[in-house]
């Protein structure tokens, strides 16, 4: 009780010593914030910086901070020497294809799991959650053999189907969470007005869920942009490479072209960062609900 009075008394009239210690605390905190943030962002900063120096500069000068030269030349040679656009186009094609299949299927499934109470519902929810635990390394062997049997190796269709194995459970999970936030009353009103359950779903639920559907599609896209193992295993010809395989091709080259490598990394990061910025609003919910994927 005595100490309590003491502290509250001190707070009313701060002494010079106290103001100084407060200042030191604030300075220390500012230094901490700056150090931590800079340390975290540094590798990313270095990538961007190294993509704007002349080729060969990094190996010769080992720059740590700001370089003394600036050029866009690396980007020109990157696009000339490597089929970056093909990689991006392939990724768009494959991820777009799997999204086009995933979204309708997952929307119907999420709607069913959300709005109906039926036998086996809990088991199915648990089952879908469990499929998210499956590492790609557990699926790679059977998928490879099955695809080999059906002639799907090294085809766009094959990779697209393989991508569905991780986009579908993820999409069901995220949409399930989103639909929970839409009150069922809207649909019930439509039912009372004579809509069939499916009619209510199409005319009421889908329009209301559009932002969530868009977010899910972007989420899937981000996952597809990141996917590596399945693409690596199921693709053999370089004209079908997706972006991650294109980037991987830089590693292990005898003559490491650091500037091109970093320029390609910047090119591959831009769409991901933009999507991330758009999705940030959903990420907290999405992470808790669908974030089983890494």
């Amino acid at each position: 009780m005595a100490t309590q009075l003491q502290t509250s008394g001190v707070q009313v009239m701060p002494t010079a010593k106290q103001t100084r210690s407060k200042f030191i605390t604030r300075l220390g905190f500012a230094l901490l914030v700056i150090t931590v943030t800079l340390a975290i962002i540094y590798p990313f900063y270095w990538m961007v910086m190294a993509s704007f120096v002349p080729e060969g500069y990094s190996i010769a000068n080992a720059p740590v901070l700001l370089p003394e030269m600036f050029t866009l030349e690396t980007y020109r040679t990157l696009f000339e020497e490597r089929p970056v656009f093909t990689w991006i186009l392939n990724t768009l094609l494959i991820v777009g294809g799997s999204t086009a299949v995933t979204i309708p299927l997952s929307l119907l499934a999420a709607y069913s799991l959300n709005r109906f109470r039926f036998f086996g519902r809990r088991a199915i929810v648990f089952f879908i959650l469990m499929t998210q635990l499956l590492p790609a390394s557990a699926l790679m062997i059977p998928l490879f053999l099955i695809f080999r049997g059906y002639g799907l190796l090294d085809t766009y269709q094959g990779i697209t189907i393989a991508y569905i194995s991780f986009t579908l459970p993820l999409a069901i999970w995220v949409l399930w969470g989103y639909l929970q936030g839409i009150p069922a009353e809207f649909e019930e009103a439509a039912l009372v007005d004579g809509c069939t359950p499916l009619g209510a779903f199409v005319r009421v639920t889908i329009p209301l869920a559009l932002p969530g559907i868009a977010a899910t599609a972007l989420f899937i896209f981000l996952e597809g942009w990141n996917q590596y193992l399945l693409a690596y295993l199921l693709t053999s010809s370089s004209d079908k490479w997706v972006i991650s395989l294109g980037l991987f091709s830089f590693i292990g080259e005898y003559f490491v072209e650091i500037e091109q490598m970093m320029a390609a990394s910047v090119v591959a990061s831009v769409p991901a960062l933009l999507l991330f910025a758009v999705l940030q609003r959903y990420l907290r919910g999405g992470l808790a609900l669908g974030g089983m994927k890494g």
Binding site: V64, S112, G194, S269
Partner: protein, 315 residues
Amino acid sequence: MQQQATSRNAPLSARQQQANRRPLLSSRLLPYLLLAPALIAIALVIIYPIFYSLYLSLTDANLLRLSEAEFVGVDNYVRLLTREDFWQSLGVTALYTAGTVFFGYFMGLLTALILNQNFRFRGLARTLISIPWATPWLVVTLIWYVMFNPQMGPINVILQRVGVIDVGIPWLYQRDTALISIVIVTVWREFPAATLLILAGLQSIQPELYEAAEVDGASRWQRFRFITMPSLRTINLVVVTLMTIWASKLFTVAWALTQGGPGDATRVLSVYTYQEAFLSNRLGRASALAILTFVLVFALVVVYFALLNREEQEA
């Protein structure tokens, strides 16, 4: 609602009768019909492959002579469990998982505590700290491939200029540092997820708790120890669970940066599975390995979920 119903009493009852009859028939089947396409797709791309894998794990299938595969029972499992290779790989995976979860959580907590303070440029700091998480995995890999370069890699250059080392360390190419390097890369990419989750947890703690503690003369550390940490218990479990699952899925970094090497220093279970299947052609043993990995992850997650459930019931 009530008023509307009574004022339009007659037409509605007729409509409702009609509506009542239809759902009776369909509402039983409808949920299953809606689920069917998704479940069929999952059965084709997940369930069938998993059962195929289960079957393969009981044979001596070889990638080059698949048709000659013979049933060998649990031979593959017995061989794996009695071999040092498997336990070595499991050990590496456990170390990697423990490292990423521990340091990822620590970084997440540290940055979340910082971002929970009121200061200018907080939004900017938050955005900058989230950037690694938004960076594609392969880009992360390439960045750190350069960062760790023995000659010009900024990490070595900085350490040399500061005077900590004389000669650049070949981080990725020697046994002692390869696994640590991969943990660093993974933590760098994943910790912002922990930051955002923990920050959300911090912001949901009632400020009155801190005020009351301050009035009672609790020190900063005591407030952290007795208010912050207990309030974060559920979030902590979620973060640890997610990071464990992510660690169990790691392939990209360990494969792209070190191919599981040098030797077997970074050969986590997923890399070991890949090598067994597609470099040694031993599909049977590799399938057994994949199944064992999944069972292990599954068991761990069940434990976490049980803890989480208990936590929620106590709350």
